[in-house]
Symmetry: C2
């Protein structure tokens, strides 16, 4: 197999990239200025060699504890629980959250054989019962069926620890259109209405 | 900048890949089995280090002359002229062509400053006037305005060499629907009609 076919195969293994896109990417790198392909390859190697989960929160990072856990400027009394490390970036980009995080590594999914012991849940409970001065846990799992089930399960588990447990709000996305929103979202938006 | 952000940036530089897809690819590699990321990186390095244009036809290859030019089983009396090396793969996959190739490296595009001297045209004329026993040149540039203009230019240039010059057929794509075909394609299909 030629190196061109091999690279096309590797690109095609990535999610959302079919054979034609993979071929286009390969030929793009062949036509790109020298150094472009090598820079991409080095960036991939750097990530796979250097990035590890943070021992404390599960964030993917080059150092452990991660920059968020180690920062003296974060509010250590609040933990935001997310499904994946990539969700942290989405929340950080808003600039509206100054607390810590905890990454579950997925959501409960009995049909796929993913129960509580497959997720990073026991370490979360240890944190709540440990030396961290946590007063609130924000459950920011996805607003999907599995994400909701995971949030409900965690809620029951965390309440005995005596901390406040909150869930991120569901409702109409900003910039969205009521007319085109699905019924469940509109129902949630009505249910979660607030005083102006 | 973290290595995660750097890899996301590199992915986002590829054609057709935006910031969100780039981020998804990065986190995919972080979650993938160990070795997956390294295999992708090695495949990219192998391509950028080993692949060069064939000295004779311009095909991208690990050896020069390329496997097609060097093969004793190809019909050396016919050359198919294509815009890009990636077009060779598309034609080879049909299994219907046994001749040689010549890669132009693009098409004529005066507005972008691409004239005949920017393309791999002079070496094509040298091949026609050289020792190769060429009897036919198939112009397989794209059926776009620029591809047509390039084919017309080459036709005028090649005719004096005394070889047959043909152009790939335009018409309705197989499996297509007359009702939804554009007018120019239908006109070309009528114009190029053949006896059954």
């Amino acid at each position: 197999m030629s190196v061109i076919d091999r690279l096309t195969d590797e690109f095609a293994r990535l999610p959302g990239i079919g054979r034609k896109t993979a071929s286009r990417l390969t030929y793009h790198l062949l036509k790109a200025p020298p150094g472009d392909a090598e820079r991409l390859a080095r960036a991939i190697l750097a990530v796979s060699e250097r990035v590890r989960p943070c021992q404390r929160c599960g964030n993917l990072t080059e150092q452990s504890p991660c920059a968020i856990c180690a920062s003296p400027r974060r509010d250590v009394s609040i933990i935001c629980v997310v499904e994946e490390a990539s969700d942290i970036g989405a929340i950080e980009r808003t600039g509206q959250y100054r607390g810590l995080y905890h990454v579950l590594g997925g959501h409960l999914s009995p049909l796929d054989g993913i129960g509580p012991s497959e997720l990073n849940i026991a370490p979360l409970i240890q944190r709540l019962n440990g030396e961290e001065p946590i007063r609130e846990v924000v459950l920011a799992t996805n607003p999907s069926v599995e994400g909701e089930a995971t949030a409900l399960y965690l809620h029951k588990l965390i309440v005995p620890a005596g901390v406040r447990v909150t869930r991120i709000a569901r409702g109409l996305p900003v910039g969205g259109d009521l007319e085109y929103a699905d019924g469940v979202t509109i129902a949630e938006a009505l249910h979660g209405r607030r005083e102006l």
